[in-house]
Symmetry: C2
Subunit: 341 residues, 2 copies
């Protein structure tokens, strides 16, 4: 069975927010006691009145106690702080980590789900769910959602659910052509599945991902492809994964030359056909029909999804110079990234 807390996160996330805020009060009190409302409120960054509300509640619960010298924890209060410590690390600890990552990586928003997707497959689904929520948040009146491939994106599609609000237009387009990969991880497959689950329309990119110059140009002339590409370029929401450079280079059946460059120029990350080194510089770009670098900056919202300790380096590299995006990742990757800071 899943852990109760994970279930609660879905059923009563609002309640958990309250819980962690109250816990934070108790915890601060644990260290700062005795302390007054005013000092404590500024320390916690909440207004005095709000803190006061919580504090009177907590004292009614017999967890803290008021005195003229300030507030302090009762025995019960101390017990709660101690007992909830590990639990809370899962909740508010993650939130702290999110904030740290936002700063360190320079992205506007980070969402971390607990666990390590390298170890447990279910964690990937959690990321998928978080991603769906993020997509929902980014929805506007007109929505063109471009999606890439990969097992993580497959999880997003898996967790997708209808998100028709009001009279929104929902169009999903594949951002990439077909790789020689397993069909369930193809951008096209994922795009279709996602659109169906979301009850939206979709357009697929029926082209191979890698092309010779010649076929590239001839295909670009193809009206059916051109039409889909127009949508990709005008995408309002872009959802993509981030891969490890070497793995991806091999999977793409890149030539010897590319593999060498990956090695010699220390490429570590790959995303939608671009290879990045540790500084975030683009080392190599696969000749591809589909999402281009510039498209990222035209989009209303860019959501990158990638997790697992093994992808920490890749995530970090990509974020260095990537567009301002939302990053959905997991605890394993987050911890690994923050190790260096």
């Amino acid at each position: 069975m899943e852990h109760l807390l994970d279930l609660q996160k879905r059923l009563i996330p609002d309640v958990l927010d309250i819980m962690s805020s109250r816990y934070r009060i108790l915890q601060s009190l644990h260290f700062l006691q005795p302390i007054g409302r005013r000092s404590l409120s500024s320390h916690l960054g909440m207004t005095e009145r709000v803190l006061r509300g919580e504090v009177t509640f907590l004292s009614q619960q017999g967890l803290i106690q008021m005195a003229s010298s300030g507030m302090y924890l009762t025995e019960n209060g101390e017990a709660i702080v101690k007992a909830l410590g590990t639990v809370m690390k899962n909740i508010s600890g993650l939130r702290n980590m999110e904030k740290q990552l936002e700063e360190v990586l320079g992205v506007s928003k980070v969402v971390i789900v607990s666990g390590d997707s390298d170890q447990y497959a279910t964690v990937k689904n959690e990321m998928g769910l978080a991603c769906v929520k993020e997509i929902e948040r980014a929805l506007g009146a007109i929505n063109i959602i471009a999606v890439t491939g990969g097992s993580t994106l497959a999880a997003v599609a898996e967790m997708m659910h209808p998100l028709r609000k009001a009279h929104q237009d929902l169009l999903f387009v594949s951002a990439r052509g077909g790789l020689g990969e397993r069909v369930e991880n193809q951008a096209n497959t994922i795009c279709a599945k996602m659109a169906e689950k979301a009850e939206g329309r979709y357009h697929l990119l029926h082209v191979p991902d890698q092309l010779s110059d010649e076929s590239y140009h001839s295909l670009m002339e193809e009206p059916s492809i051109h039409r889909v590409l127009q949508h990709v370029h005008r995408a309002t929401i872009i959802v993509h994964g981030i891969g490890d450079a070497k793995t991806m280079a091999i999977r793409r059946h890149s030539g010897e030359e590319i593999l060498k460059r990956v090695d010699t120029e220390h490429a570590v990350a790959e995303a939608f056909g671009y290879f990045f080194d540790q500084t975030g510089r683009v080392i190599h770009k696969v000749q591809t029909i589909g999402l281009q670098w510039e498209d990222l900056f035209g989009a209303h919202s860019v959501i990158a999804v990638a997790g697992g300790k093994s992808k920490a380096e890749a995530i970090q590299a990509y974020c260095k110079k990537g567009p301002d995006s939302v990053l959905i990742t997991d605890e394993g990757a987050a911890q690994e990234i923050l190790k260096n800071f």
Copy 2:
């Protein structure tokens, strides 16, 4: 470690209410889908507007889905219903049990904590905490709280915390004199401890619990004792335990005759010096200075605390003819009592 839910209950007392109400919605939906707000709200006994609030929340969480034909669960929703099933059985199960017990025993309120205090000592503390909360609820402007002895009441004292609200007067008095028992289970010891933890005043009854006629009358004349007794008789809140008749008869060093009567007349329960048979009839009353039967009916609130499978029979007997009281017990006792119905 204590169970997560018990900790959460202290930080957010109505976490269970919220959670079970949302769960109930999901569960009903699981069976009735697709169904509309109106039908569902009448089925669940909530107003349409409230249900609507929850339902929009749940659909934002991606657990349910709106359609023109009605609402239905998404895959995630179904998963939650399934996963939370066992957890919820424990929670709403207890609440159901409370209601059943209230009916069966004819008392106005029953609180059941999970577990069996015969098996785990911590369960007694949970009862203690529940009792403290009940006391708090019963507080008025003037409070005289009479307490008896016993290990369960000791647990109540253990869990007591300051309950000074506004300008309330808090006076604790022992309802019983001293038994030849261990000091930590004496009414006096418990009374003092409770009062200190609650930050109230206290008066103790410095008399032996069992008396000859002669000393009884002479002690009753004693001004210091008379004064305390006045308080006992005017108690607004009475907190007492319930004991097994035989155990208590032995512990009280009752004479041969009493022991025989307990046997022949099938006494099963004891509370504050009174012995009851299965029908709730008083079989025998110890000649005692302290709380009297009549006092119970003058009190604003009577709280009986007793748990453990072994005390099921005693609890049941006492409640038959006892005053309208609040009963704090545990799952072990509750299950045993309900077996017969």
